[in-house]
């Protein structure tokens, strides 16, 4: 029987290729290789496809380039940081890997330009380089790519900030060289009517260290998909995230950590709070977290852990938490996962109130305490303070 799927003349459906694990999914730079997703597809079943403004099916508004600005601190050593706008087809694009879903491939295919930020070998830039991507507003769709390359032996901190409003899809390529170190803070602080889908392809070299932090507070629909792979032993990836969703917001953080070589370490910790307003007419507050960790047969000595914790502050919010551990060898240092979705612990509130602390303040203390485990690990003080302030601001509108 010949069906549309198997007849090569009618449908070169590359991405229906069977794969054995989540690390081997079909990838391509060409959007035409991906069929338009339907709601049943594992990767698309949580997001509301009808609300992503045609990013998945080609009906998006006019494609424009991304509005991106890079600020290099004056303390950076001369020639340490290279900032350049790239044209599609530049040799520096696409080295870490190709997009794994249609929207990321669409961004790749349609982007008019890309941004490159490189750190030279053996240099250290201690203050953050700030990349700001601003939405292009209504009536257009911005597509872009950002390449962050930290060459062998270099150390860098990058803040990737998303601001403003609009519809934006991008690929972020991150290459950390041998013995190099990158701290990246991705801050999605869009206005609350922005749609942003972002694919991140991350490649770590020998003994490379990545400290990856994602804060998702602003936007209508924000989906960030970091896919991490190790090319040599000794890599160390820590992926931290915080999010706070209100009514009318949908945040998805979908990670892949692919251990294909020995003796690498990964630690994933994402914490989120959701609050809904029953009287509001907007869609309910929703988040989705997927943590795919793959330990291939050759990855002896892997040490990995992932955890996602969600706090539902009110009725009418929904959090999905899906950890997946695929383990193909038993010769590992450790592997674990945990995911929780829960309400306020009444006993904790009671304990604080029984010491005289009013209920609203007790809840604030507990929620700040909940996030502090992640926020305290972000090594840039100004960003820590900013995020703590954001949590406080969100809580000021909690209905106690």
């Amino acid at each position: 029987m010949t069906t549309a799927l198997t007849n090569p003349d009618t449908n070169p459906v590359g991405n229906a290729t069977p794969h054995n694990n989540k690390g081997d999914v079909f990838t391509s730079f060409n959007v035409e290789d991906f069929p338009v997703p339907g709601g049943r597809d594992e990767v698309w079943r949580f997001i509301a496809l009808r609300r992503i403004r045609g990013l998945h099916n080609g009906t998006f508004a006019e494609a424009v380039e991304q509005d991106v600005r890079v600020d290099v601190p004056s303390s950076a050593p001369a020639d340490a940081v290279t900032v350049e706008t790239l044209q599609p087809g530049d040799a520096r694009l696409g080295r870490a890997g190709a997009p794994a879903d249609r929207v990321a491939a669409q961004a790749w295919t349609s982007m008019p330009s890309a941004q490159f930020v490189g750190f030279a070998r053996n240099t250290a830039v201690t203050e953050p380089v700030v990349i700001t991507v601003t939405g292009r507003g209504e009536g257009v769709t911005s597509f872009g790519a950002t390449v962050i390359e930290v060459a062998d032996g270099a150390e860098a901190t990058v803040a990737l900030n998303y601001r403003g409003t609009g519809t934006h899809a991008d690929n972020v390529e991150i290459i950390v060289g041998d013995n190099a170190r990158l701290t990246l803070i991705v801050d999605a602080q869009w206005d609350n009517d922005a749609v942003h889908l972002s694919g991140q392809i991350i490649q770590l070299g020998r003994d490379a260290v990545l400290r990856h932090n994602v804060a998702t507070f602003g936007g209508e629909i924000v989906r960030i998909v970091p896919r991490v792979s190790f090319t040599a032993p000794g890599g160390d990836a820590e992926m931290l995230g915080v999010y706070f969703a209100d009514d009318g917001q949908y945040f998805e953080n979908r990670l892949l950590v692919d251990h294909s070589v020995p003796n690498c370490r990964s630690n994933v910790m994402y914490k989120g709070a959701l609050q809904a307003d029953p009287s509001s007419e907007r869609t309910e507050a929703r988040t989705c977290w997927v943590g795919d960790v793959l330990i291939r047969a050759a990855a002896h000595g892997t040490d990995t852990y992932e955890v996602n914790r969600n706090l539902l502050l009110t009725e009418g919010a929904r959090a999905d938490a899906i950890p997946n551990l695929e383990i193909e060898t038993g010769e590992i240092a450790g592997a674990g996962h945990a995911a929780t979705v829960g309400r306020f612990d009444d006993d904790q509130v009671f304990y604080l109130m029984a010491r005289g602390i009013p209920e609203a303040e007790a809840r604030r203390l507990i929620i700040r305490g909940f996030f502090s485990e992640v926020i305290n690990r972000i090594p840039v003080e100004a960003i820590r303070e900013e995020l703590e302030q954001r949590v406080t601001t969100e809580l000021e509108s909690v209905h106690a």
């Binding site: 009444d346 109130m353 029984a354 700040r368």
Partner: protein, 252 residues
């Protein structure tokens, strides 16, 4: 001079399973405590001693079905949990709750500020806190640790008594503060309780299963609690009798 009057208190516990019936636990408790007095409450497991403590404090799982608890004539059962604490009640819990991410120092300062009505001046506060901490042999590092997280049983109880000393309530209900403590910890905790009472003339309700702590914290009255109410009251020697003969003769 203050008075805590528990009058004909009846209470039931709401089960975790919302479809099940509430279970009556307190069946008419009557007790009057004056400032400076120490009342020990002893009784067999399941008699309702902890329920009494939680009910006075206002835990949401317990529902009053009859009776009053008057603090200087005002019924605290009409107040929210935090109001009762600010009015001068303190409950030292048998199983103190862990609160990850909230540092003990931050928590103590917030509690003291709430109960005193204003935040204490920083330098004086640090001195006061360190003094109280050292008296209870609590390590300096406790301040940065999350409230009760990773604390041993003895550390948790000493931490409760630290709060007692800093919040200086009019009346303290200590729920099995002695359980799980070794001899040294028991002595330190008892000294802390006595010190609180000397400094504030506070009234103490000491719920305990074992007589041991009563050697250190002398009771003025010993009450036997059984089946949801006080069945017998005596002096300190009643505790010795209970230790020798058990609860059977007081419980049918």
């Amino acid at each position: 001079m203050s008075t805590l009057e528990i009058k004909n208190l009846h209470a039931q516990v709401l089960p975790a399973d919302e479809t099940a019936e509430p279970k009556p636990i307190l069946k008419g408790v009557n007790l009057t405590v004056n400032s400076g007095e120490t009342h020990a409450i002893m009784g067999p497991n399941g008699s309702g001693k902890s329920t009494l403590a939680y009910t006075i404090a206002g835990h949401p799982r317990y529902e009053i079905t009859e009776g009053e608890v008057l603090l200087d004539g005002v019924n605290v059962l009409d107040m929210e949990v935090d109001e009762r604490a600010r009015a001068g009640l303190f409950l030292a819990m048998q199983y103190p709750t862990e609160i990850p991410g909230v540092s003990s120092s931050n928590f103590m300062r917030s509690a003291v500020s709430a109960v005193r009505g204003e935040a204490p001046k920083l330098r004086e506060w640090v001195k006061e806190l360190n003094g109280a901490r050292e008296n209870l042999q609590i390590d300096k590092s406790f301040g940065e640790r999350s409230v009760n997280e990773g604390f041993s049983g003895g550390e948790k109880k000493r931490h409760e008594v630290l709060q007692l000393g800093l919040l200086k309530p009019k009346f303290a209900v200590m729920d099995e503060t002695d359980s799980g403590l070794d001899v040294d910890a028991l002595r330190i905790v008892s000294e802390g309780i006595n010190r609180y009472q000397e400094e504030t003339d506070g009234g103490i309700v000491l719920i305990t299963h074992y007589k041991r702590i009563l050697n250190y914290v002398q009771p003025d009255f010993v009450h036997v609690f059984a089946d949801g109410r006080i069945v017998t009251t005596g002096g300190a020697e009643l505790a010795d009798q209970l230790e020798a003969d058990g609860y059977d003769q007081f419980v049918r």
